[in-house]
């Protein structure tokens, strides 16, 4: 676990030095939100749970929780997914410290 953290820190430093995007170097998720009703998630690993009010997505840096109403997954593809609905909350679980 410690070894993994060190590697992550090193990658982060390299990304900072070389000005390369962190989502590419570190593989961290990219969230793009339009208003309160559209959310695009890139760089995710998979879905862990999905109901109309709650979606849990697995990412490299931990689980991402999306809480809202009438949540729908408009599409679910290899590199990107889109969530529609009234999004009230987005939070990370099991955060990994850099």
């Amino acid at each position: 676990m410690r070894k993994r953290e060190t590697r992550q820190q090193l990658k982060s430093k390299v990304a900072d030095m070389t000005n390369m995007p962190k989502d590419v170097v570190l593989g961290v998720p990219v969230l793009t939100m339009t208003g309160q009703e559209e959310l695009y998630i890139e760089n995710y690993r998979g879905i862990l749970e999905y109901t109309e009010t709650f979606i849990r997505v697995q990412t490299k840096i931990g689980n991402l929780q999306v809480v809202g109403q009438n949540l729908r997954i408009a599409y679910y593809m290899n590199d990107e997914m889109k969530i529609n609905g009234l999004i009230k909350e987005i939070k990370y679980q099991n955060e990994i410290r850099n």
Binding site: I47, Y50, T51, R72, I73, A74, Y75, Y76, N78
Partner: protein, 415 residues
């Protein structure tokens, strides 16, 4: 929109995935790059849309995850065609339609001409027709550079032409030379001319520009008399003619003359009395073949016959050999009626006014008129004389050419 269309063309289905861990099913689909959309949770299962090709790859995933798939709905072209596979005429119709579109696209159905102002579309089309460029010709036979060359060569005022094919439309753009004014092709006749009197009368005014005037204001002239001579004498100091100069005589001359006027009309006229019947016939003419409805047969001695004909066109100029015709007859009989005195007076006065207007347009001034209406034996007539002041500069004759015999001697005598 485009994605929806592609999905419809490729075919897709709505499925329900249920089992122990449907989320794992979703993740495996993601991993194997099977796209899913419209994901909706439904109790312990998920409903989603999947493409036909994606669905075919599902078997190993289902085995691995232990989930079950139920197809709820099938949509798209492949399913549509499969459903109606026994309707052969439908498929034949579709195929025939495509074939027709293809065949029709091989011909020119419209010739569009733009940019022409003085040359009308009809003139250009008529010329193109003479060069075998016409509606309905094969697209492959159109030679655009040749059309451009021929149009340039035939129409002088067209300075630029572009011919291009747009689908089954031949587009011809032209630019006309609007700067130059067309030179009038009037060749001036330079033969020496005299101005002669067009009728008997008295000269009321004369202003000569070219030539030698032969009359003065107040002179009485007869028809054919020379008013201005096209020959000008060249005199020496002793007032002897040494030479002649010839030119086309030019002058403003007015002659005071009298014009007789007579116009007569019958006191009766024929009035139409309609029977109140009208027969109509509608015709559809395709080439030589005619389909008619109704009848326009005429059994009466007198009838008004009218006809309307309309040719069907494809687009703006492509004329089809199909005509819509409407024929009709309105029979009537005639009855002799007499004009009232006032009506006769009005008709004759109106005719006389028109006659006077015509004279005025020709530059004739009416000085006096004593036209009166006479009525006898079923005929009424307006008769009289007009005293007018009319221009008399247009009637011309060739000038007689004279030679100067003593010219040689005279020039020799000069110092």
């Amino acid at each position: 929109m485009l994605i929806r269309l592609i999905r419809y063309l490729q075919g897709y289905m709505k499925i329900r995935v249920s089992g122990y861990s449907p989320e794992r099913f979703l993740n495996l689909c993601k991993h194997r790059r099977i796209s899913l959309w419209g994901l909706v949770p439904a109790n312990d299962a998920y409903e989603m849309y999947i493409s036909v090709s994606g669905f075919q790859k599902l078997t190993p995933i289902l085995k691995k995850t232990g989930t079950k798939v139920v197809i709820l709905k099938k949509s798209g072209i492949p399913f549509f065609l499969h459903r109606y596979r026994k309707r052969k005429i439908f498929f034949f119709g579709g195929f025939f339609c495509l074939l027709l579109i293809y065949v029709f696209s091989l011909f020119i159905w419209d010739i569009q001409i733009t940019g022409n102002y003085s040359q009308t579309d009809e003139m250009i089309l008529e010329y193109l027709k003479s060069q075998d460029v016409r509606h309905g010709m094969r697209r492959a036979d159109v030679d655009c550079p040749k059309i451009v060359r021929e149009l340039r060569a035939n129409f002088d005022d067209i300075i630029w032409v572009s011919a291009s094919l747009e689908g089954s439309r031949l587009k011809i753009q032209v630019k006309e030379n609007s700067d130059t004014i067309k030179e009038t092709q009037v060749t001036k006749d330079t033969t020496p001319k005299d101005i002669i009197a067009p009728c008997d009368g008295k000269v009321s005014s004369i202003v000569t520009r070219k030539g030698t005037p032969q009359v003065q204001t107040g002179d009485e002239v007869k028809k054919g008399d020379i008013l201005v001579l096209g020959r000008v004498d060249v005199l020496d100091d002793s007032k002897t003619v040494v030479d002649y100069q010839y030119q086309v005589a030019d002058a403003d001359i007015f002659l005071e003359t009298s014009i007789p006027y007579e116009n007569s009309i019958k006191n009766t006229y024929m009035e139409k009395e309609y029977y109140g019947i009208e027969r109509k016939e509608y015709r559809l003419r395709i080439g030589k073949w005619i389909l008619s409805f109704g009848s326009s047969k005429n059994d009466y001695d007198k009838a008004e016959i009218w006809c309307e004909k309309r040719q069907l066109k494809l687009g703006k100029h492509f004329e089809l050999p199909i005509y819509l015709e409407k024929n009709g007859i309105i029979p009537y009989q005639t009855k002799e009626m007499a004009y009232a005195d006032k009506e006769i007076q009005k008709i004759l006065s109106d005719d006389f006014s028109r006659f006077c207007m015509d004279l005025k347009k020709r530059g004739v001034q009416i000085l006096e008129n004593d036209v009166k209406i006479y009525k006898d034996n079923g005929v009424s007539c307006a008769k009289g004389t007009l005293i007018v002041n009319m221009p008399a500069s247009d009637e011309k004759q060739d000038t007689k050419i004279l030679t100067v015999e003593q010219k040689e001697n005279k020039t020799e005598g000069e110092p």
